[in-house]
Assembly symmetry: C2
Homo-oligomer: 138 residues x 2
């Protein structure tokens, strides 16, 4: 009586590497960034495979889509709710550990009848580097 994920999945080196890569990075990469990072380690890796596995890992709840920048999705292996900062200029996505999302979650009162899933708090603005560049451009 649940979303039947009847298909049993097999081990795949590609999937494992993709997941490991996401676990080990802080950069909240897009599919293409993952692809670029792994193509040297996995000969013949294809972008399609990266997309397929990201989607699969997402369905499994092991990976999360954390932001969308200029039509490009960004992924993260940490699945707990947390806060992200997106730089409008360079597109970097940083975690913001200081912000207390738990606290935020506490203050939310949804109207009757809604079921709350993810809480996504995204800040945008300019990162230190881009601020610097902007300053020196004047």
């Amino acid at each position: 009586m649940k979303t039947d994920t009847e298909k049993k999945l097999r081990y795949s080196h590609q999937r494992e590497m993709i997941y490991q890569y996401l676990m080990g990075t802080q950069e909240h990469p897009s599919a293409e960034m993952v692809y670029d990072a792994l193509r040297s380690e996995i000969k013949g890796l294809s972008l399609g495979t990266v997309y397929r596995n990201l989607r699969l890992l997402e369905d499994l709840g092991k990976v999360r889509r954390v932001a969308s920048l200029n039509g490009t999705e960004r992924y993260d292996a940490m699945c707990g709710d947390h806060v992200h900062f997106i730089c409008q200029s360079c597109g970097t996505v940083h975690d913001v550990p200081e912000a207390e999302l738990e606290q935020v979650r506490g203050t939310i009162s949804l109207p009757e009848g809604y079921q709350l899933g993810q809480v996504n708090l995204t800040l945008s603005g300019l990162c230190p580097e881009c601020l610097k560049k902007q300053a020196s451009a004047n």
Copy 2:
């Protein structure tokens, strides 16, 4: 010493209608939804024009991109920060007036050197209708 928006803009019926439509709706429409809603009123309206004007209105700060669902951007004419609820199942975007975003903004402490712009709090989950459908499917 500012982003020179030197180009002077002229009145356009299409732009006016698009803006009015966004002001008058609660549905946080995508470009195509705006197009579909207005094509009967504006003969010969083109989707490209809708996109161009949404972008322009966004640059003017009169309209805001509030969410991206399955790679499709959603727009809103209300430009203050507020909270949105996206139904994972049907894609509806609702405002959540109860949530106190101001309060949230107060609790945020960014690391040194960042400049905070927009604060975007998006909740996702299931809306009442989809919950109902899901229940009756069992």
